[in-house]
Amino acid sequence: MKDRVEVFWFSEQPYGYVTDEDLSKYDSGRLGFPNTYFDPQKAHVLYNQYHEQYALADEVGFDGIMSNEHHASYWCMKPAVNLDAAVICKVTKKAKIAILGNVIAVNDPVRMAEEIAMLDCFSGGRIISGFVRGTAVESLHGGIDPSENFARFQEAHDLIIKCWTTPGPFRYEGQYYHYRAVNPWVVPIQKPHPDIWFPGTGSPESVVWAARHQHPYMNLGALVGMTEYLKGVYIDTAKEVGFTPGPEHFGYLLRVLCADTDDKAIDVGRTFMWTENHRQRGPREHNDPPGYQSREALQVKMNRPTIGTGTFGKKMGYDELRAVNNIIVGNPETVIKKLTEIIQRLNPGYLHIYGNEGPMAHQDVTRSIELLGKEVIPALHELELQPYE
């Protein structure tokens, strides 16, 4: 059983120049907001700052770096997570690299398998391969009928694993993917393959699926009570399947900003609320198109705070979110205290720190990374995780 938490650094890599005023002119913050507001020269500077943050996180002792993918998102400049992972491979030496994850239902599965294999070889076997269904917008932007998303996801998952574990050439003739000559040359270093993680925002059927496949489940920022419920779904399903889940099967993402003083951290951390009213704004058909998710999954998501990955949720203010430890800001002592409460309550094997947002100043973020790495993470590594009942 994993008895110590591993702490990962995460950034959405936002394009922080977008304002509420810009967004208010359009009918939605994602599929309706045009890229005329994107300046590639500014993005060039931002990307390189985010890459410096990765290198620093590795240097100061983060156990890993997590990355993700979104399309049509001003708040996430990563429409290709594997490209970001390639950068992480080169600018870091020790950190694990959690791709969380490839949106496999909208991308070619054989190519996904090949890219992840390349990354595992680049990094010397540091890749954790997460697969996601994606928000509904990823399916819509990818031209996929949202009612096919889950079935495609499952078929793509099986095909990718086959690419890693079955020497070719072989045929694969499923419902959605048809190949008669699959023969990838590159395979991962890790055997039988990199660990597969499954992140989610709240769909119980996704949690059940993860548990049935014994893939660790990463919850992305739900309130603690809801997270406990979903963790319970995982544990119950694991028992049905016949394995004993532990902290190694569960991770949790939350927003954290550390500064030299509490006041400074509270002030900088206010930027976590950047464009809070626009992330999921738009017709219901963008975030919850017919056929994409069950009504129960929707209910769970409605009880999750709105911001984070731009899906459904309920509006909570900055102070409310701080009060329930959904956003944690403070000096190292405060952050250690609050993260300890979270870790003792949820017992996650992995804690993902969503560490910057919007126009947060690069120097404030790098200072946060330094303090987290040098003071907070060592304290968290002292905590002993408990087995799951």
Partner: protein, 266 residues
């Protein structure tokens, strides 16, 4: 859907589908194929058509109370189901009338088994990609947007508030949600059309009436013109000051035109 003395509402077992069918009237069989939103129920125009025909108004597999077997996920699959429907109920030769998405389905059935048809009526039908304009986005937008696109002038729609714009119960909303999921499955891509349909319709000589609202903001009038070109024994009737749903927006002209055709399709 309410059952009145004018029609019945039953679940029939056809092939491997439990299909909800509204049926009423007497006369030659007329099979009505509904559009993307599901079966509108037994409305005034159904009752009018039932004066001279036995009207069958099923809910397609996957809609309303009808079941959906796994094998039905494309419009071609749906056409195959309806071929079996016509056979099992011995409806041939049947008058076939399709509205909007149901018009696409009717055209596919006509291409598949023209000998089963006595006549074909396409009302603001999907199925052919326009050369002028676009089929409007109705899947990734709110239903309020779709309602606004549907009519040229809602004030001329009789019973607009009770038929079109009424508040749905939670159960009805759940049914609508499932209906929309099935429409996504059938119509996502290519979007509301079959690029091969004009080629499939070549040589189909079934007498056909194509009815179109001149100001259809969902499926452009150009699609009606293309259907007319594809169907050698067809004529196009354009209704002025009318949008996508002439049966609701211009019921008198719609019924006069259609009933005259049905009584003498040749």
């Amino acid at each position: 859907m309410a059952v009145t003395p004018h029609h019945s509402d039953e679940l029939m077992q056809i092939a491997d589908v439990s299909i909800q069918v509204l049926k009423g009237g007497e006369g030659e069989p007329l099979l009505l194929l509904h559009g993307a939103g599901g079966n509108p129920g037994w409305l005034a125009y159904h009752q009018a058509l039932a004066q001279r025909c036995t009207v069958y108004a099923p809910s397609h597999p996957g809609y309303d109370r009808s079941s959906r077997p796994d094998w039905i996920s494309t419009m071609n699959d749906m056409a195959h189901f309806y071929r079996q429907f016509i056979e099992e109920l011995s409806l041939a030769p049947v008058h076939l009338m399709g509205f909007s998405m149901g018009g696409w389905l009717a055209a596919e059935i006509a291409a598949m088994c023209p000998a089963y048809l006595k006549s074909l009526v396409l009302v603001d039908a999907a199925g052919i990609r326009p050369e002028v304009g676009e089929i409007a986005e109705i899947l990734m937008v709110s239903q309020d947007v779709v309602k606004k696109l549907r009519f040229y002038d809602p004030t001329q729609v009789p019973d607009y508030d009770t038929v079109v714009n009424r508040q749905l119960t939670p159960e009805e909303e759940a049914v609508q949600w499932r209906n929309r999921e099935m429409t996504s499955r059938l119509c996502w891509k290519p979007y509301f059309h079959n690029p091969k349909l004009p080629a499939y319709l070549r040589g189909v000589k079934v007498p056909a009436l194509i009815v179109w609202g001149k100001y259809d903001a969902i499926i452009p009038l150009n699609c009606g013109e293309l259907f007319q070109q594809a169907l050698s024994n067809s004529r196009l009737h354009v209704i002025d000051r009318c949008g996508h749903s002439p049966a609701l927006e211009k019921p008198q002209e719609f019924l006069q035109t259609v009933q005259a055709f049905l009584s003498k399709p040749n």
